[in-house]
C-alpha cells in the first residue's frame, strides 16, 4: 500500500499559513525594532503590535484593545490568569473553581496554588464531558474568587455552556476565566455576551506561529503579574515583545475570522463523515465526547481490546499523524484524566485515539484514514489476548 503523509493532529499544532508567514517576514529583518524604543524602528514595531491588539479585541468583541495582553504561550496565559487572580484577590478569599477536564496547565497551576493554601473545587462532568452550570452555582462560596472553565476541551472537543456559566459568575461577583485555545477564531466568541473576565487563546492552534498567545483581561480586573521587568504589556507581562510572532498571530486570526463560517461548515461535514465511517467500519468502537456539542474539527474514539500508543504508531507507519489518551503515550504514564472524568473505564482510556482535522484536510484524507484504521485495529486485535 502506498504511504500517504496525512496530518490528523491539528489540535496538537497547525502548520503556519503561507499568508501568515508572508506577513511576519518583514518583522524579522527590516522592521525588527524593540516595541518600547522611541525611535522610528521601535515605533514601527509598536504600530504593528497595537494594530494586532486591535484585531484581537475585534475578534473577541472586547470593549478596549488594551484589554489584550500578549504572552508566549497559552500555558503562560493560563498561569497568569489563575495565579495572577489568586495572588491579587487572596484578601477576598482563597477558593477557586475549575472543572475536572481542564488542560494540564490549568490543573497543575491550581494544584500548585493548593500547596500555597488555596482551596480548589473541581466540577464533575457528564459522560459527554459537559458541565452543568448549576453545579458551578452550587459550588460558589463566599470566599470564591475565580471560576476557570475550558471553552472547548482539547481532547474530546466538547463545547461547554460558557455563556450560562458567565451569567452565574457575574451574578455572584466572581471572576470568570475561560481557556479558549481550541475554540478561538474557530467558533464565534464574544467576551461581553459570554460575561467572561479573562480568556486565553493561542497562535499555533490557528495556523499562526508558535511562541505567541494572548490573555484577555477585562478592564478593572484585579490581577498580579507573574513576570516582573521592564513594564511591557501594561506592566502585566515584562519581556521584549515577540513582534514577528504576534504579527503572525494577528494575520492568522484575521484569516480565520474571515473564513470561519464557510470553513467550519466544511469541517463539520468531514468530521461527521469520519465519525460515521469509523463507527460503521470498526466493531467495538465508541465515540468519546458529545455527538453535536463539539468542535468542528475534533473526533475522539475508543477501541476495545487494543492499546492507543500501538494504534498511533501503526497509523504512523502508514503516514497518518494522530494522538492518544493512553497512559503509555504520556510522560506521567497515566491515562487521560479527561476520559476518566467522563466515566470511561481505564481500558477505554488506554484504547483511545484522537483525530483532528484542519484547513488542509481534504475528503481524500478521510478516505485514506477510513481505509487504514480498520486494518490497524484488526491487526492489533489479532495480537491481543482479549479477542477470542
Amino acid at each position: 500500500m502506498k504511504i500517504i503523509k496525512t496530518y490528523l493532529d491539528y489540535a496538537a499544532t497547525t502548520p503556519v499559513d503561507p499568508r501568515v508567514l508572508k506577513a511576519m517576514l518583514p518583522y524579522f529583518t527590516k522592521k525588527f525594532g524593540n516595541s518600547i524604543s522611541l525611535h522610528t524602528f521601535g515605533q514601527e514595531a509598536k504600530k504593528a503590535l497595537e494594530k494586532t491588539r486591535l484585531i484581537m479585541a475585534e475578534a473577541l468583541n472586547a470593549k478596549n484593545k488594551d484589554e489584550i495582553i500578549f504572552t508566549s504561550s497559552a500555558t503562560e496565559s493560563n498561569n497568569l490568569a489563575i495565579k495572577g487572580i489568586a495572588f491579587a484577590n487572596q484578601n477576598k478569599g482563597k477558593h477557586i473553581i475549575i472543572s475536572s477536564i481542564e488542560h494540564s496547565c490549568v490543573l497543575n497551576s491550581s494544584q500548585w496554588l493548593e500547596k500555597q493554601g488555596f482551596k480548589i473545587t473541581k466540577i464533575k462532568v457528564d459522560k459527554y464531558g459537559l458541565i452543568d452550570p448549576k453545579e458551578i452555582e452550587k459550588a460558589i462560596r463566599k470566599d470564591t474568587i475565580l471560576v476557570s472553565i475550558i471553552h472547548a476541551n482539547n481532547e474530546i472537543g466538547t463545547i461547554e455552556p460558557i455563556k450560562e456559566i458567565g451569567k452565574i459568575c457575574e451574578k455572584k461577583k466572581v471572576y470568570f476565566h475561560t481557556d479558549a485555545v481550541q475554540s478561538f477564531a474557530k467558533t464565534p466568541i464574544d467576551v461581553q455576551k459570554m460575561k467572561v473576565d479573562l480568556l486565553t487563546a493561542s497562535s499555533h492552534k490557528l495556523y499562526g506561529p508558535k511562541g505567541a498567545a494572548l490573555l484577555y483581561i477585562k478592564k478593572g480586573t484585579k490581577i498580579e503579574p507573574l513576570i516582573h521587568g521592564g513594564g511591557h504589556e501594561f506592566g502585566l507581562r515584562a519581556s521584549t515583545v515577540n513582534v514577528p510572532a504576534i504579527v503572525g498571530f494577528g494575520k492568522a486570526v484575521e484569516i480565520c475570522e474571515k473564513e470561519m463560517k464557510k470553513e467550519s461548515k466544511r469541517q463539520i461535514k468531514l468530521r461527521n463523515k469520519l465519525i460515521n465511517g469509523v463507527l460503521k467500519k470498526i466493531p467495538d468502537s465508541y465515540l468519546n465526547g458529545h455527538p453535536t456539542k463539539r468542535l468542528p474539527n475534533n473526533t475522539n474514539f475508543s477501541f476495545a481490546y487494543v492499546e492507543g500508543e500501538s494504534i498511533l504508531m501503526d497509523l504512523n507507519s502508514y503516514g497518518i499523524a494522530s494522538s492518544t489518551g493512553s497512559a503509555c503515550s504520556s510522560e506521567e504514564l497515566e491515562p487521560s484524566h479527561v476520559l476518566l472524568a467522563c466515566g470511561s473505564r481505564l481500558e477505554q482510556a488506554h484504547g483511545s485515539l484522537r483525530l483532528t482535522i484542519g484547513r488542509w484536510t481534504k475528503e481524500k484524507d478521510i478516505n485514506y484514514l477510513l481505509k487504514t484504521l480498520p486494518k490497524t485495529i484488526k491487526k492489533l486485535r489479532e495480537l491481543s489476548p482479549y479477542v477470542q
Binding site: 464533575k124 500501538s310 493512553s326 503509555c328 466515566g343 481500558e347
Partner: protein, 167 residues
C-alpha cells in the same frame, strides 16, 4: 523515539498467536496498567535428552515496547533448553532490541516475566523441581499483582464515584 529494530518487531511480530494444548502458560500484567501478556510454551527434547522450548507463542495487549519485547523474547527462548531459557533477562532482551526509551523499559519487563511464568507453570504442572531463582521470581510477580489489584481498587473507586455523581 523507537529504533528501527523495535519498530520492525512491532510491525511484523514473530511467534504471535496461541498454542493449542500448551505445556505451560504465563499470564502477566493488567489491563488497568495498559499492558497484558500471555505466553504459551510447548516443551520437547533435544538430542541430549534435555528439555527444550520447542515452540513458543505470545498474545499481548499493550504499547509498541510491550509488543516488540514479547516478540524478541520468543525469538530468544525458542529452541533453548529450559536451563538456558530461565537465564534470559531484561538486560539481554533490551540489548537484543537495540535499546528502548528509558520511560519504556518497565513495559518490557513483562515479557521476561511472562516467559518465566510459563516455564514455572510447566514445571509445577508436571511436578518437576522448581529452580530456586524461579520460585523467587514467581513470588515477586504474585506480590506485584497484589499491588496492582490494590491500585485497581483505587481506580475503580474513582470510577464509581464519578458514576455515582451522575446518577
Amino acid at each position: 523515539m523507537y529504533n528501527k529494530k523495535v519498530l520492525q518487531h512491532f510491525k511484523s511480530p514473530h511467534n504471535f498467536g496461541k498454542i493449542k494444548n500448551p505445556d505451560g502458560i504465563g499470564k502477566v500484567g493488567n489491563i488497568i496498567c495498559g499492558d497484558v501478556m500471555w505466553m504459551y510454551i510447548k516443551i520437547g527434547k533435544n538430542k541430549k535428552e534435555e528439555e527444550i522450548i520447542k515452540d513458543i507463542k505470545f498474545e499481548t495487549y499493550g504499547c509498541v515496547a510491550a509488543l516488540a519485547s514479547s516478540s524478541i523474547v520468543t525469538d530468544l527462548a525458542k529452541g533453548k533448553t529450559i536451563k538456558q531459557a530461565i537465564k534470559i533477562n531484561q538486560k539481554q532482551m533490551v540489548e537484543s532490541l537495540g535499546g528502548l526509551p528509558p520511560v519504556k523499559i518497565h513495559c518490557s519487563i513483562l515479557a521476561v516475566d511472562a516467559l518465566l511464568e510459563a516455564i514455572y507453570d510447566y514445571l509445577i504442572k508436571n511436578k518437576k523441581v522448581i529452580f530456586e531463582g524461579l520460585e523467587k521470581h514467581h513470588k515477586r510477580i504474585e506480590r506485584e499483582e497484589k499491588i496492582i489489584e490494590e491500585k485497581y481498587k483505587e481506580w475503580t473507586q474513582v470510577d464509581e464515584k464519578i458514576n455515582d455523581s451522575k446518577e
